[in-house]
């Protein structure tokens, strides 16, 4: 069950997106997300949605995995878009007792759903096509300027590398502990909220104990391998922008210009903030 979680997972491959520099991917992802939220009419929304679809197809990662990442948020998407459906202003298209549905309500809920789904999909593309080390490397390099404020960027990046490395290990362990507790008669699926929270304690305590033991071992293994902080450390993979990065940059710039033009030239569908 927990194995379904694809958070922070990387799927090795040889696609163009795999070959891109993580720094460029992070920057472009940020720009992309901002522009997803700047779309003001259906044409500009369509531009972003279609490009998300293209990016996914280019990533060379099985579509099944993207559906998996959507499964986790489908409830939130449905909830917020249904809620928005009833909160539109303007002339009602449909009225039944206290329920009114307006054109504006439909617009908002379509935009909300499309934006959240695009956001999740495009972020998944980043983690699916970037190895955790590359990802943290990219973040480390991008945040480097912050070290003038005495923020320990290298340490933060190392912590992220290790966290990403141990997510699957700890998930597997949680699964094992749950099975072990079930075998002892634990019941995780019934009772009210309070009793359910209480049944989590026998899972969390062994998990914590084992995580500390792992941390102790890991620290020792890292020291044995001459780890002594970021000073004087080199990297095997030197980050370098390639032609793919420049092409991607151009493509995203064109998309953004497209969105801006559509927003200005075409009538605005969505007036509310979200």
């Amino acid at each position: 069950m927990l194995k379904e979680i694809t958070l922070g997972q990387y799927f090795p491959g040889r696609s163009v997106l795999h070959k891109m520099d993580p720094r460029m991917k992070i920057i472009l992802l940020t720009v992309f997300i901002v522009f997803i939220f700047l779309t003001k009419n259906y044409v500009s929304l369509a531009i972003m949605v279609v490009s998300v679809i293209f990016v996914i197809l280019f990533s060379g990662v099985s579509l099944k995995l993207y559906f998996k990442s959507l499964k986790a948020i489908i409830f939130i998407v449905l909830f917020t878009s249904v809620l928005n459906l009833f909160y539109g202003t303007g002339d009602p298209l449909f009225q039944w007792k206290f329920i009114t549905i307006t054109q504006a309500g439909i617009n908002t809920s379509v935009f909300v759903a499309a934006r959240i789904i695009s956001l999740v999909l495009i972020s998944s593309v980043l983690t699916y096509t970037t190895s955790p080390t590359d990802l943290t490397d990219g973040i480390e390099k991008l945040l480097k300027p912050l070290s003038v404020f005495h923020i320990k960027i290298h340490e933060i990046a190392m912590m992220m590398t290790i966290a990403l490395r141990f997510i699957p290990t700890l998930l597997e362990e949680t699964d094992k502990i749950m099975s072990a507790q079930k075998a002892r008669g634990a019941d995780f699926d019934s009772g009210n909220a309070m009793t359910r929270i209480k049944t989590l304690i026998p899972i969390l305590i062994p998990l914590f104990v084992s995580a500390f033991r792992r941390a102790y071992d890991l620290a020792m293994a890292m020291e044995s391998r001459c780890y002594h902080g970021g000073e004087g450390r080199t990297r095997m993979k030197v980050l370098k922008y390639s032609k793919y990065d420049y092409i991607a940059l151009c493509v995203v710039c064109l998309l953004c210009i497209g969105v801006i033009i559509c927003n200005i030239r075409l009538p605005i569908t969505l007036r509310t903030g979200m």
Binding site: P12, S131, T133, R214, D217, A221, M236
Partner: protein, 281 residues
């Protein structure tokens, strides 16, 4: 001067001066370059503690550990020592730092500040040395236990050490994983002349070593070649230690009046011994 010298080392985890909790009691031993030493002893006899002394993860309360003349107590040469003496732990899951195989292997050389091109070369050759080159871009957590342990060994080899200390590297593995890891260890010792200090519970693994060291309650009980050590069956039994099954059988036959010339340590030698006995009869 030997490669590694352990001189009258005393160590306790908590220093409340009670004699009861001293883990290592005036241990002295030395390891030659290129040797394959197996360290045996029952649980809690201080094997892992001693292993952590070899590369300065733990420092002796009194006495000295020197590697190539460098004392582990000297902070300035500590990195040099750790580059020369690598440590592989029991649980392969807890010693891999990066998620991808080759990135993990690169971790050690990266810490040493080596040039990226050179790191690449070392990582490739280390992965080839442990037969994991095809897996270089795989996610580490999806590998089998034996494969993970070989990646951990590759991570040490990439630092080009003179010696590898392995603390029960096969304890959590299935028979196939154990075999893979043992083959790798022996290959490294024979072909790359890397000194091996292997801590193990498996007597058949220990029988492959050049020299055995038996640790008991923080002191060295006995040491010598596998044949010498395993012929002291009475002593080992008294300290609740096993001998290889072949040696056990020879011992039983001997006590029934059969004359055994050479102590067999594995199944093949054992078969030869029995055939020789049958011919005599």
């Amino acid at each position: 001067m030997q490669f590694i010298d352990v001189d009258k080392v005393v160590f306790a985890y908590d220093n409340d001066e009670e004699t009861g909790n001293t883990v290592l009691k005036e241990i002295s031993l030395s390891i030659k370059k290129g040797e394959f030493v197996a360290l045996l002893g029952h649980n809690g006899s201080g094997k892992s503690t001693l292993a952590k002394m070899f590369n300065g993860i733990l420092l002796p309360d009194s006495g000295d550990v020197t590697v190539c003349g460098m004392n582990t107590k000297n902070d300035e040469t500590l990195l040099d020592i750790r580059r020369k003496v690598g440590l592989v732990l029991q649980n392969p899951d807890n010693q891999l730092v990066a998620s991808i195989v080759e990135e993990d292997v690169a971790f050690g050389p990266e810490n040493l500040g080596i040039d990226p091109v050179e790191i690449r070369k070392r990582v490739d050759s280390a992965l080839k040395a442990v037969d994991m080159y095809e897996y270089r871009d795989h996610a580490a957590y999806k590998l089998s236990g034996g494969q993970k342990q070989r990646v951990a060994i590759a991570g040490i080899i990439a630092m080009q050490p003179d010696c590898i200390v392995l603390d029960e590297p096969t304890a959590m593995l299935d028979p196939q994983g154990r075999q893979e890891v043992m083959d790798t260890i022996i290959k490294l010792n024979k072909e790359k002349k890397i000194t091996i200090i292997l801590i193990t519970h498996y007597m058949d693994e220990a029988a492959l070593a050049d020299r055995l060291l038996i640790l008991d309650n923080g002191t060295i009980l006995t040491q010598g070649s596998p044949k010498e050590v395993f012929s002291k069956i009475e002593l080992l039994k008294r300290h609740k230690l096993d001998v290889p099954q072949a040696a056990q059988l020879a011992y039983r036959l001997n006590s029934c009046g059969f004359k055994i010339d050479e102590l067999p340590l594995n199944a093949d030698d054992c078969v030869k011994m029995i055939l020789a006995q049958i011919e005599k009869v």
